[in-house]
């Protein structure tokens, strides 16, 4: 508890100067650099990569900070994506568009599977409000159930990872098996408009890219707040010495459930943005392989760093696209080599490299700014004290 009563003033502030700089640089990259150097097609691809960054941010919270390795984030990503896709599919399946079907007005794949009316649980997805709520709430409920079942029984570590992997496998099999309701292996395809707004032209894709960017920063901000909060510090404590935290009287399971649910919500938002930008969703984004890919994005970026996770998702996906375009026969080997190199040479990923080589210099440069920010923060909280005091009230 001594840590909490006399916090490092750097930690207790919401942003240090170097963190602020990091966010500003990322904002410049996403909102200025990429849109100005890339054409609409490449920008759309980066939009897709950024939708994976949501998952990676969630994994930094769960895995890097909380020590909960989930190999099933694809499930939450997919749930978000499917919720979005259901709304878009219903909008695209007007009786006029589907007049060649036996039952016009229902999604085409239902008709192919001899369904004659819309299943009851599809009906609420006619409403955009319901859909937006469902995108976040449905995955969170599932995450809560999984988390409650696991963490209150103190299942953790590698056992938890295996169980999440099994859940990813189950989800895929369920989606493929129930193809009359879910579109099966094909997924939900041929999505056209969002409230009458055509999402297919380049202009719409570019607009969605910026929406995606704004949402990403919103999620980054929330994740940052969680990290800086007392809960965030407790999560680190739980990761490093779970017993001590438990003996101190905290309910460890609650914190774990919370952070797991947060990760699921982030992943789901990413999934919804994926559906909007790519134009379809399919079980290949739900299963074990994509879930592990998502962990790799996080690992390459650095599992302790929110910003690192975003760069990791961008870098790995960009490398994948580039390799596969240049060497269609060899690209998987090249990707494998990249991952091995990352794990062997810099286990803390890009963020680790930054910490080792760049951070010192940047911190030194920023030191005056930092001091100024600290003084200002101190004046605000306790105007009489000359030095920054511990924020014991917290």
């Amino acid at each position: 508890m001594s840590d909490v009563s006399t916090p490092d003033p750097r930690q207790s502030r919401l942003f240090t100067a170097s963190e602020l700089l990091g966010y500003l640089v990322l904002a410049a990259v996403i909102f200025i650099v990429l849109p100005s150097v890339l054409d609409a097609f490449r920008l759309n691809l980066f939009g897709k990569y950024l939708s994976y960054a949501f998952v990676a941010i969630g994994l930094v919270l769960c895995w890097g900070v909380g020590g909960i390795l989930s190999l099933g984030q694809g499930v939450f990503f997919g749930l978000g994506g499917y919720c979005m896709a259901m709304f878009l599919k219903l909008e695209a399946s007007t009786p006029e568009n589907t007049s060649i079907q036996s039952t016009p007005g229902i999604p085409d794949f239902m008709d192919w599977n001899q369904l004659t009316e819309l299943p009851w649980w599809w009906v609420p997805f006619n409403s955009l409000t319901f859909t937006v709520v469902a995108i976040v709430v449905v995955p969170v409920i599932l995450a809560f159930i999984i988390g409650f079942a696991m963490f209150t029984r103190r299942v953790g570590g590698v056992y938890f990872a295996i169980i999440t992997q099994a859940i990813a496998a189950i989800a895929t099999i369920l989606i493929i098996g129930q193809q009359g309701f879910t579109g099966g292996v094909n997924g939900i395809t041929d999505l056209r408009t969002l409230m009458g707004w055509d999402i297919r032209p380049d202009s719409a894709k570019t607009a969605l890219y910026f929406v995606n960017g704004v949402l990403l920063f919103a999620v980054l901000f929330v994740a940052h707040m969680i990290l800086k909060s007392k809960a965030g510090r407790l999560m680190i404590a739980i990761r490093d010495r779970e017993d001590r935290v438990r003996f101190s009287g905290y309910n460890v399971a609650n914190f774990k459930i919370f952070v797991f649910c947060a990760g699921a919500a982030f992943a789901a938002i990413g999934g919804a943005m994926f559906t909007l930008q790519v134009g379809f969703i399919s079980p290949t984004l739900v299963g074990i392989v994509p879930s592990i890919y998502m962990v790799i994005f996080c690992a390459v970026g650095g599992r302790l760093s929110l910003l690192g996770a975003v760069y990791g998702a961008l870098l790995v996906n960009w490398a994948q696209t580039t390799f596969s375009e240049s060497f269609p026969e060899l690209w998987l080997l090249a990707m494998g080599a990249l991952f091995i190199a990352v794990v062997m040479a810099f286990p803390l990923g890009l963020a680790g490299l930054y910490d080792d080589y760049l951070k010192r210099h940047i911190d030194r440069l920023l030191a005056p700014v930092d001091r100024m920010m600290m003084r200002r923060a101190a004046r605000k909280t306790s105007p009489k004290a000359p030095a920054p005091t511990a924020q014991a009230a917290e």
Binding site: I100, V278, P328
Partner: protein
Amino acid sequence: MTKRPESETSTTGPSRRGVLMGATAAAMTASLFTPKTLRAADFPTAEVNTTGLAVTDDAVTIGILHSITGTMSISETGSVQAEKLAIEQINAQGGILGRKIEYIQEDGASDWPTFAEKSRKLLVQDKVASVMGCWTSASRKAVLPVFEQHNGFLYYPTFYEGLEQSPNVIYTGQEATQQIIAGLDWVAREKGAETFYLLGSDYIWPRTSNKIARKHIENFLGKRVLGEEYYPLGHTQFNSVINKIRLRKPDVIYAIVVGGSNVAFYKQLKAAGIDMTEEKPLLLTISVTEDEIRGIGGENIEGAYACMKYFQSLDNENNIEFVKAFKEMWGDDMVIGDVTQAAYLGPWLYKAAVEKAGSFDVDKVREASPGIELDTAPEGYVKVHENHHLWSKTRVGRAQADGQYDVVFETADLVEPDPFPEGYQ
């Protein structure tokens, strides 16, 4: 650019123009032997390419989009090989409108979002004039909106479930009714089959195909279906369904199992003592080509019947030439299945359509496509229908221990493609 006087074609030089002249001269020399060869100079690029496609004075770029990594690569490799063979042969004959075909190959990686990404790249960035590609229905469904949005043109080789007719796709494989109905008629007529057991892998193609099969069996043939079952892709435990089959004793097992599951299914069938050579019950499949038999093993499937439009053993001149050329290019141990042959048709149909249209513009190629005939196809004569599918014969082959099919039946006429069959919905 107008047609140049004959004398000018003899000038040679290091300039681009000179090279172009040389190419024209070469094309002319070739034309002595193959009268059909067209000269690029007669078709100025500005006129045959008004929409900014990747067509230059001496080359046209097309895309090849298949999975060469991942689970589907085993199936799709044959298609890639066939397409490259066709491109090479077309180039040897002088190309399309006097332009060599160049291709950009992209890997769909057995992953549907990747297919969508790569198709967009081919159309938007590379501006390819057409694309040979896709294999699974899922990959086609993923790229379809992209092709329709950017007005691309896709040649799709796989036999598939139908229920689709895009202005931006030519379907060179059979749609479900072409493949199914003739086979069922044959088995009912020739083998006196009364009862059927339908099974398949659980996704859209087997389900739709079995739906059509069931309607045909029950409503048109007046026979009985004893059971219908589906198993997830990659499923390897078929013992329970094999036991059911032994109990129910159908005359025909109608199997649409795909991919790796095939290996387990046929081995377990044999291990359970069902000898397909005795035809009690008879096994009829629409999903096992020569390519799949390589994995299953000829001795495990010997005696089963398959219904599709092409078998490597077809005895006609086109096919003998094709098989020879394919093995020369890709190795003697290669086998050629139905889809591989359909993929081979893609570049040839494209060439014919472009030359009929006198233009590479997608809209004009689309307009010219219906009615295109190909009498050099390995499967025999084919023709493009108004609905973008091919008229083709349906054949039944019997699997032999050496992994080849013995063709036992073929329809007398070409079967009309009917992607939205009335009475089967």
